[in-house]
């Protein structure tokens, strides 16, 4: 009986350690490096950046991912950024993709590497209202590639504009659906407004 209890205890410790290590392996790669100041920002380049983040997951309040096409830590609880899962959330993903600054008054272009954990100061609602020097509200009919549609609770960027009512939207959607390109009808949804980034260079 004593031997059984010892074995069970060791087993439990090992099981916990394995889980912790798996978790730690991903988060250990995330960093807080300074972004790279850029003088250019083309819609093509930004589209590539967003496309590369597909399949990397969703993390509430997050902003760190690698490029292995797997969500290393899915199904975290919402409302808790300390779970340190992989992926951005909707507004964090737009912040990094649009090369924005943590300072809301700066409208320059700052390249954030995928593993740089950054969310930025904007919620979806803040983007929707065009808050921050780099952002502004636009009419939804004029939203072009890599402009965005934002509601009070979500934001996604136009990957391809469709002629048939909806758009291909690249977005960090939810823990179970992760970050990907989805067909959405935000353009005709009254709870969504159009928002864009100033400063495209091509």
């Amino acid at each position: 009986m004593k031997a059984f209890l010892v074995c069970a205890g060791v087993g439990l410790v090992l099981a916990a350690a394995t889980g912790a290590q798996a978790y730690h392996r991903f988060w250990a790669s995330c960093n807080y490096d300074a972004p790279t100041f850029m003088t250019t920002m083309t819609r093509d380049a930004v589209q590539d950046y967003a496309n590369a983040a597909r399949y990397e997951g969703y993390q509430w309040g997050g902003g760190c991912w690698n490029y292995d096409d797997v969500d290393s830590y899915p199904n975290d609880a919402l409302g808790d950024s300390s779970t340190h899962g992989e992926g951005g959330d909707c507004s964090g993903f737009v912040f990094k993709t649009w090369r924005e600054s943590q300072d809301t008054w700066r409208d320059g272009r700052y390249y954030w590497r995928a593993l740089r954990n950054a969310h930025g100061p904007y919620s979806a609602s803040a983007f929707k209202y065009g808050n921050g020097a780099p952002n502004h509200v636009i009419s939804k009919s004029s939203a072009a590639t890599m402009d965005a549609f934002a509601s009070d609770w979500h934001i996604g960027m136009v990957f391809y504009r469709s002629l048939y009512g909806g758009d291909q939207i690249v977005e960090a959607k939810c823990e179970t659906c992760g970050t990907n390109i989805f067909y959405r009808t935000y353009r005709s949804d009254s709870s969504y407004g159009g928002v864009a980034r100033w400063g495209w260079t091509g």
């Binding site: 509430w60 808790d80 943590q102 609602s125 808050n131 609770w153």
Partner: protein, 229 residues
């Protein structure tokens, strides 16, 4: 001899006056205690059970009463989602002000956050708007907003606090004093602070104490909030 004494007397008098002046200046400079005025100059009341506290002014109004004060904060597309006679909680504190109200179906709570918009895009008094989704009547997260600044240029953090059962007053530690918010209209309480706001990390911490109607402490906790969604 008489002159010397006079000189000594005048010297020691000057020293005493200087010391008194120094004490007065130090007392003035060191008056980091309880603010005597709220944002718009109203006298700040004290919550008796908490020494050195300041009560943030709270009023329950209707959307129609507030008129442009509320409309100027709303996104045009949101106006239809809020009833014309919606109940709005207006709060004016020491360095922040806010409006809180629910949408038509009570599936979410809006907040208009007051202060200076560092990007210069939004005119005073509002610098930010937050929306929190309600799930089973509770917010998923505190809907932190770090986009506003106070009149001194410090980052202001705004967050919702959900009152626990029996709570009537919410206290937020502002360093040298505690700011007290009354729980009103059954809505989450929008609190503001310039303390422990890390705008560059989009995070903030609030030291929150909840009191019952008699001012007895119910809960003391640190609210760690992050911008998200």
């Amino acid at each position: 001899m008489g002159l010397d004494r006079l000189r000594r007397t005048s010297k020691s008098g000057a020293r005493a006056a200087g010391a008194a002046l120094l004490v007065a200046v130090l007392a003035g400079c060191g008056s980091h205690g309880r603010p005597k005025r709220l944002l718009y100059g109203e006298a700040a009341a004290e919550f008796r059970p908490v020494a050195g506290s300041v009560i943030s002014q709270g009023r329950v109004l209707r959307r129609t009463t507030l008129g442009r004060r509320l409309e100027s904060c709303l996104f045009p597309g949101d106006r239809a989602a809020i009833p014309a006679d919606a109940v709005v909680v207006e709060r004016i504190g020491v360095s922040g002000e806010s409006l809180t109200f629910a949408n038509r179906r009570h599936t979410g709570i809006y907040a208009c956050d007051g202060g200076v918009d560092p990007a210069g895009e939004r005119p005073l008094p509002w610098c930010g708007t937050a929306f929190g989704r309600l799930v089973d009547g509770r917010l998923l997260d505190p809907r932190l907003d770090v986009l506003c600044q106070d009149r001194k240029g410090h980052s202001l953090g705004y967050a919702f606090v959900e009152p626990v059962a029996g709570a009537r007053w919410i206290g937020v530690d502002q360093g040298s004093y505690t700011e007290i918010y009354e729980v009103l209209a059954g809505l989450p309480v929008r609190v503001a602070s310039a303390r422990n706001v890390r705008a560059d990390e989009a995070k903030a911490e609030f030291d929150v104490t909840q009191y019952d109607v008699h001012g007895r402490e119910l809960v003391t906790a640190k609210l760690e909030a992050a911008v998200a969604g």
